[in-house]
Symmetry: D2
Subunit: 337 residues, 4 copies
């Protein structure tokens, strides 16, 4: 088969990264089209990456015959519509999370995917494609740590990006939907189970601005899963040390920790601050390889006809769960699924 | 002032350790009397440590004029009575936790202490006397990490002692009372606040034997504290790697972790298992110095007339909180304090 | 400019890896030809990677018009001749180390490169392209750790590959030439200086087989560099924990350590062996990204007309230094450069 | 037997520490006398520690009947004489290193010890009494890491004490005698062998003041030991991160590292400097427990009639070796033992 020809929509930070990866790092794929509402941004990226097909309209891009597959990195509110439209136009679809910004939207997206069983659809839960997470998952799946007892995940954004987080707060959906979805996906993936109950707390410890959206700058929740596993999730926006995502899975026979000491690379510094390692600056740095790997997987599924491991239903479930967490947080109640 | 003459009751593992410490490592104190119901154990320890006053009756020991202070390391069910009796006999009292095995008992102990304001009473929350915990607490108190956002603590007993834990289950009161009390004490100490609500879960993941006591082999709870701080506690009995107590305090300006990578000592081993550190075998190894330091503090309070930082009320509060956690776990409900 | 068309020679483990990288991970490059003396190996790799031009003769490959650049991963003894021939045929050349197996050969290679200033020549010192080494080098270059005091490097091969090492011993040139050349390159790169004296020791601690080649299974040397920096290198073949390359640069104002705790990935395991991290299995795993990056750099130099930072003279110098270390080891004397 | 009554001479930083330890932390010992040439210092310490016998003359102290044993923490130049005098007066002797400041002095000390086989003599190589070093030594002795291949040790003093180091330079004997003696002792202890050859280098990288004493601010040496083991020692005075002593023993079957990531305690800090641990401030902090343990061992040897593991000959050998290292450094030659 020839190279999979990809059109990518959305040229924010992550969109640019996806475009660069497709253009230069994904064997068997080529970046043939780019789409963004901002013509200047579009021109700059297209010229730099050698992409001739340039669109300010998504609908036009998906009508392009030289596009086999679409990568959606647009604002969340556009995801559902673009997923449905691209599939209807016969394109394979890779979409960044979330599937939709309401339960109804998630349902629509799920229907659209089911209506096109011949097309590959994949959702961007990139952590599953990080080598350390995958290595740990293989061990858990192989029974190395026995039965899962506690899944604990910690996702922190750096304090230095707080202004952006505040500006984005009206659309973010809150931390459970914006950040914790990745941890919810991991919890389901590692435990192989679904939540039964949740208690969620948190608050605005440093930045009262989030309160008006019924959100906090740091939140957490404790979930009981149907197989008995305990799940504790923490999400924060005020980490002084940088971007920090760490996960612990305690089993009856062993414990695995992924990135429990966050690290930018393998350099250790000994200076007047002690013995230290620097952290990754943001998700693009921490998950650099994962972002490449997930699109590789998408392309490989198209080429080989395999189904991606991450299904559209995973996307719906994760969103549903995040909504319940959010409600539990807002209501201060114990909620059941 | 002369040396503080101490009589110690209870010669289990920890009792022996306290006796050895008092006999050889505490400046300004001497071990003048020992008490245990088992005469053989008593003789062996007394001879080895050079203690001439030997009692199988606690009441007799506290009538001894050569005893200024009593260290109580007897079974939990005896604590309240011995505390009250020793104070009534005019002795300073250091007691291992818990103050009592019911709320009523805690109340009695508290009354007894209040009735003897001239005598020093101290409860053995030894973690507060561990150098790493103290160093971290000093930093938190100095505002180094800003406002506390999340206090998280993890207390694990080694799987290899599970038979002892099962045998002890009928009297232990369950993991919240037996193990998590130390974490509850730390949570109050680090946050300077009290709990408002709690949700607790867990189960018997490896050992169904705990179920008949409405306990689990691994449990956890999420508490909201009055100052807004989130508190997550995990306690387990099935750690294959050894005894493991770790604590994280996330603040608005920094995070502190105490023993987040458990370690027996400073030796790192590179062999066919990778690069590794061994863990402490049990609480006596991990908190070796803390057990010395806490009795030093007790003796110093007697000598200088200072009040110990840990009050009898701390003991009552910690027990009360542990009871509520236990109830939340048993009922599967969100409970409020 | 169009894609750089690369022909790669040698399909051993590293040769296969280079071929795969060029075929799928290097933007702006395409793998158009493969060469190996083993027709079966050649067919398998060429078919799998979709390469139509297949050669069992290097001389034929470099006459192919569809090849712009050659990547040399053949046995060391062939390097010099192939470098010279490829350059003479007008091809850009990337060669794995060493430049040659004698000082004379290195001189020939150097002359060949100098005779073709219009062609890009680059030697595969891949560690310089590892992200952690590069990060550390940037800091050293920026003066962050002050003046270099001690450069220390440790390169260990896993004991489990010892049979291969013994079989390869007659051709390897010994550990200083086979393994320590990478550390010598780093020492020059980090200190910006050249050696003045060397004392080298070691022996056959576990495997007497190396003695007949006047080599050891573990060796080390201490060098004084012209700028005063101390350089200590250790190379071993008997590491039970896996492949381990670590480097420390102590400066007057700080110390940097690269991979001082070897790690396969970010997963930490807590089990009956303690708290541990696994190591990389071999150089391909540890330097996976570096092998991609170095060929990217080679291609980028061709495309942009830049000169690679690693010069042919670096290759000669490193070999010369390794020879002196080897002589010092064989003679048990302090040698001067 | 009654408590061993100790008289301690020298009230510098380490002397004060020893006095405090003896007064309060050593079971079976009591501090009965103190000696220092500075009457004010003497009074302050004696009063604070409750010592009634106070001497400004060492000769008077050793005539005191209430002194069974002497601890020598006076300036190095006085050691030999005080050791001999105290033994002649029938006192057991614990002396801080070195035994003497010349080879002749070491010989005299050795003779004095041999002349009093009934008295306990012990030299203060405290690292052997550090729990991590002891744990590692036990493993090596048990053959856990196979045959020793490389012993590497790193001893660094903090840059912030450089003024003191410069002031002390005329008497220090240089870094090999002042600092590396501890590493030399460890090398002999861990390898069970003696050096055969040494090459030593270094210089004044930051502080030219040491040059006039033919010393450097950072030095290193590579030794070949008689059993074939390689030994690399590094000693420095300019560490910005604090006091740092680390040791690695590479064996044919495993590697042990002691304090390879220096740490003040078990607290990890995550802040704008990354993820970090602070270092110990000085040798008193790092080896706090070791200083207690070594005097406990001394007292226990007196009480039980055992011989200390560290012999007077160890002291002589270590000094001899340090002198050869120093000569090798000064002459820039390879020297043989």
């Amino acid at each position: 088969m020839n190279s999979v020809r990809i059109g990518s929509v959305g040229l924010g930070r992550l969109g640019i990264r996806h475009a660069e990866n497709i253009a230069g790092k994904i064997e068997g794929a080529s970046l043939t089209a780019l789409c963004d509402v901002d013509p200047a941004k579009l021109e700059e990226a297209a010229r730099r990456l050698g992409v001739s097909r340039r669109f300010t309209s998504f609908d036009e891009m998906i009508r392009c015959d030289e596009v086999d597959a679409v990568v959606i990195v647009s604002p969340s509110a556009l995801h559902t519509g673009q997923i449905a439209a691209a599939l209807a136009a016969g394109k394979h679809v890779f979409s960044e999370k979330p599937l939709g910004v309401t339960a109804a939207e998630c349902g629509e997206a799920e229907k659209a995917v089911q209506a096109h069983p011949d097309l590959v659809f994949m959702l961007g839960f990139m952590r599953r494609f990080d080598e350390s997470y995958r290595y740990a998952h293989d061990k858990v799946a192989a029974g190395v740590i026995g039965k899962p007892v506690l899944f604990r995940s910690n996702s922190q954004d750096p304090e230095k990006f707080i202004d952006g987080a505040i500006a984005f707060a009206p659309q973010s959906g809150g931390q459970f939907l914006d950040m914790a979805v990745h941890d919810i996906d991991l919890a389901r993936w590692f435990t192989g189970s679904e939540p039964e109950s949740v208690y969620a707390i948190g608050g605005c410890y440093a930045h009262p601005e989030f309160a008006r959206y019924q959100d906090g700058d740091n939140v957490s929740c404790l979930l009981k899963f149907k197989n008995g596993a305990m799940v504790f999730l923490f999400a924060g926006r005020t980490a002084p040390h940088g971007y920090n995502v760490e996960t612990e899975i305690i089993g009856t026979k062993g414990t695995l920790r992924i990135a429990s000491v966050p690290q930018k690379n393998m350099v250790e510094i000994l200076d007047s601050h002690g013995v230290r390692r620097e952290c990754s600056e943001n998700f693009l740095e921490r998950f650099e390889t994962a972002y490449v790997n997930e699109v590789r997987e998408f392309v490989d599924c198209i080429v080989t006809g395999r189904r991606p491991e991450v299904t559209v239903h995973d996307g719906t479930r994760v969103s549903e769960i995040a909504y319940v967490c959010k409600s539990a947080f807002e209501q201060g109640k114990l909620l059941f699924f």
